[in-house]
Symmetry: C2
Subunit: 126 residues, 2 copies
DNA sequence: GTATACTGTCCGCATACAGTATACAATCGG
DNA sequence: CCGATTGTATACTGTATGCGGACAGTATAC
């Protein structure tokens, strides 16, 4: 069974948290082309939110081209090509902020590098 | 003069964008202990927002221990120690999402690593 | 000392967003 | 065809974002 977890204390909206987690699952190949996502009601009950909150997450994924949404049928993972080059700048900015926070925690350049390498490690090795 | 730029089209609230930029300036040492920040009105007029929006950004920085806010005096940068270890998990999650997005753009492990190294480079070498 | 111009703060309002409840519409399986 | 299951649309509540104006502390000139 698919484990999606939500932190209600977070300032990040629930529907984005859900979308992020599915994005991660697709990115690392845990969900492959054609695979069905849980129904919005199923997952909503599981997570403890309203079905529309899950639906909103699915729509984000659909907009990104990660899943195929069809009214009446279950959402399916799309293995096809995606891109979104314009978001590169956004990622750079986001990374910059992460670096700032790490530095303000007292970490030096080496430690920041190590932190990043560990993150990449965790993502790919599993 | 200090350059703070805001993207009104972004989905990220303006006051957070402002806080992030100051956080970056402090992290890389462009703003040092004791230095004064622009007044909320000055910066607000400069950026094109209401003074309260800037004030909210300053309060975030104050909560993080980066600036000293005193009613009637200008906000000053605090060079002292900060930490916030609990936010490490948040950073890890955020990094994980960045990796997912890069991978979904078709980048492999090496390319993700390179992207990160470039970001670190940009931060420290300047 | 005190008038005055500066500083950040508080309060109320308008609008947009997050999340819910409920009804609707499309698809699937008998 | 019909019921169950799926995603969708609408109406509603609470919260967050951002603005405007009034308030309160601080600094400086006199």
């Amino acid at each position: 069974m698919l484990t999606i977890e939500v932190d209600f204390g977070s300032d990040r909206p629930v529907y984005r948290q859900i979308a992020e987690q599915f994005r991660g699952l697709v990115a690392r190949g845990d969900l492959i082309d054609g695979e069905e996502l849980p129904s919005v009601r199923q997952l909503a009950a599981n997570v403890g939110v309203n079905l529309n909150t899950v639906a909103k997450a699915y729509r984000i994924l659909a907009d990104e081209g990660l899943v195929d949404l069809r009214h009446g049928s279950r959402a399916r993972v799309l293995g096809g090509a995606r891109a979104r080059a314009p978001e590169v700048e956004e990622l750079e900015r986001e990374l910059g902020d992460v670096i700032s926070r790490l530095v303000l925690q007292g970490r030096g350049r080496e430690e920041v590098q190590a932190f990043f390498e560990t993150a990449v490690e965790r993502f790919f090795e599993r």
